[in-house]
Symmetry: C2
Subunit: 152 residues, 2 copies
Amino acid sequence: MDSIDKAIIAILQRDSSTPVSEIADSVGLSATPCWRRIKKLEEEGVITKRVALVDRHRLNLRLTAFISVRTAHHSEAWLTKFAESVRRIPEIVELHRMSGDTDYLMKVVCPDMVRFDKVYKKLISVAEFSDVKSSFSMEDLKSTTELPLDYI
Amino acid sequence: MDSIDKAIIAILQRDSSTPVSEIADSVGLSATPCWRRIKKLEEEGVITKRVALVDRHRLNLRLTAFISVRTAHHSEAWLTKFAESVRRIPEIVELHRMSGDTDYLMKVVCPDMVRFDKVYKKLISVAEFSDVKSSFSMEDLKSTTELPLDYI
DNA sequence: GCTGAAACCAGGTAACC
DNA sequence: GGTTACCTGGTTTCAGC
């Protein structure tokens, strides 16, 4: 992966609807080799998918919350089952197994506190926790899917 | 926004490279009216952008961390300047103004602890904090850009 | 073996019903 | 919202470097 691939990824991370010919111009290549590089990046799994991003406010998702939990269960089987359950809850968009004080950290999006409480209840119904803490985002100041390309 | 629009969004959130004709089939429409709906969703800002998602491991971004900070400064001017500075740090992919114990919560991606410390130093160089806590993700169990469509 | 020109074809876009 | 036609842009082939 050279600097041209990096430049291609930079463009596609920002706007994947950019025509190949335009990307080719930007990186100083003609369309065909540029297209082949994109194809290769997709085949090799560097580019995993192309998605449409949606304005969460337009979907009535005005509340963003973080739930951190502790649990007494630390088996592989418990983790697998827990992760699988969380993957089925669409309001929980992230789940991290953490080091330190909390065992798991989740990011939740939903319309309001009433709906948040429903997600919360759904969550505590799928697994047992010894401690649960919720904190709420008042303002989304930065949120991007663009990853830094400085380390390749 | 009706159930057809919802179905269209569901498909595009999952894979924005799906051909319009295929989407049209799925939602029981012919290509043109389906395309018109997609165009409208984009114009109205429901669909904000189309992006390529990249495997962070392939970009050498193996460390995910959360930094929560407290600050003594609570003016609008300070917030604006702080947010602007953070937006210029590519390793910080999320910044939330929080309620409760912490004032701001950030999500950071970088290769390792050494690079994390550099981001940390960059962060404390752009703003003054009274308290800074870092926690680290050991395992990414769920991470999606697909938002729940149950509330429209 | 990789690049780019040109031909080709799928799919996005527009006009019309 | 559908049908048809058009035309941009993605994809393949092939010649040249």
